[in-house]
Amino acid sequence: MFLSVFRWEFLSGRRFYLVFLIYFLVLFSSGTFTSESWTVEVKYPDYVSKEFLTPGSMIDVWWNASSLWWFLFPLVTAYAVFMISYEFDKGILRTYLLSNVGKRTLFSAKLLSILLGLLIPLVASLLIVYALADLMLFSSTPLEVYVNLPRRLLMYTSMLYPMIGIATLCSVAFRKPLYAFAVPLAGVYVLNMARLTGISAYIPPQCYPEFQGSIGLMPIGWFLNELSMVLPTVVTSSIAIVAAYLIFIRRDMT
């Protein structure tokens, strides 16, 4: 039953992830206009070269620094909340529940389809932007470029996950769309003010030798530090999702 419901929710539902795909593509491709360039010393066997690079400018999103991120983020949140509200619309849920499907199955399938609806465009846009931009910038091989992808994906997911959790809770708990929009937005801003940031720092492949002990591109310590900063928001979001689930299971479908 779960697979049937999930397939319907993900493949037959509103394909809101297309909007996210466009969003991420624009976001990642526009970094050039929002970040500073760095001077990097690249050591070659017989000489040292100073190169003006824009590390992360093409690809990285700086949670705090990017004005584009801040400009677009409320819009994306609004859209996500709207879509989640639509997915948890009582009328549609009631229509589905007049059958043998369980509430648990319906909630899980919907949530999973929403999460994948974010992850798939994220992966797609990272693959596209890396392939298009990074090679041109750093003359890297695709293998070197993509080696950091899983970690970047984890970083970005950890930034998006809080939005999903709070938006889901608000969509289930509030009847008024305004609250369902305003509360997650306020929540995410507050979390950000508390410096719960997830910065995905980028190091060009030419500089790998400079960072001893790194996995892929980013030093392990740096990576773990970033992840630990994100952890509270991930926990908060998980609590929000559990709360949304409990409300959903127990409430009347009036």
């Binding site: 049937s4 037959s12 619309d89 007049l98 043998n100 009347d252 479908m253």
Partner: protein, 302 residues
Amino acid sequence: MARIENVISAEEVCKVFGRNVVLNNISLKVQKGSVFLIMGPNGSGKSTLLKIITGLIKRTRGKIKVFGMDPWKQRQTIFTQVGAMFEDHAPPDWASGRAYLEYKATLKNAEEPKKEALAAAKLFEVDTFWAQQVSTFSSGMKRKLALADAFINDPELVILDDPTVALDKEARLTLQKIVEDRARQNKTSIIASHIITEFENHATHLAVLNVGQIIVAGKVEDIMGNMGIHQVTIKSEQPEAVANILLKKGCPIKVHDNLVTIERPEDLDRIIDMLEKLGVKAEIGETRMNLWEIYTKALTYR
């Protein structure tokens, strides 16, 4: 004597939303094979009662069993035998009618979802327009889709909340025919409506709700008997004599040619006795109340 099988059994069911008592001590039994009509004005609690029966809403107090099971706790199991539609049926507007029905057939554990969906669609000719997206449907088409949805798998019990709103005449007749056929097959139908005339000839049982309470409930024929005779017409060659006798008794009457009509007589047997004793020859005809009149009277004299 054959044992009466109750499909639904409710005892003192109450539902409170905040401070608002929506249902108050509702007790009723729905027998297998019956056509149970639930009538009541807007806000009387019909839809809430049906949502409790279908397990969408949890009752605040009381007991309710559907096929011997608690609908709130065992909704999934109950729906192997139940089909339902509500007034505010809301299929996803991005789906096609066909995809939606096939998906619902899957959710209802149909062995062959596509075949079941088609069979249900054909009942109301939904298959003639089901390739379109639901967002393009008219309200009548949406209602037909909702009805087809309720009849997927030909369930033992069908619950229909205001099913005829926005339906064309052909579809109404089709629905009446289906309900009639189902009763013959000993399958149960519960229909909530405030438009009574459509199922007047098919209803075997009736419950009238008002302000969350049951005013009248039972077999239609029993209720008709209990609620009295609507009108008695006395045909006599001496209408003036009859009229005088009745006026002396304080009965409101109408006289037209040789017909004397009495509205809602409360002591008809005494009137007949009196006419016989006085030697007035009269032919007496009765007009019984229809469901609409019973409904109106129930709401008036509650």
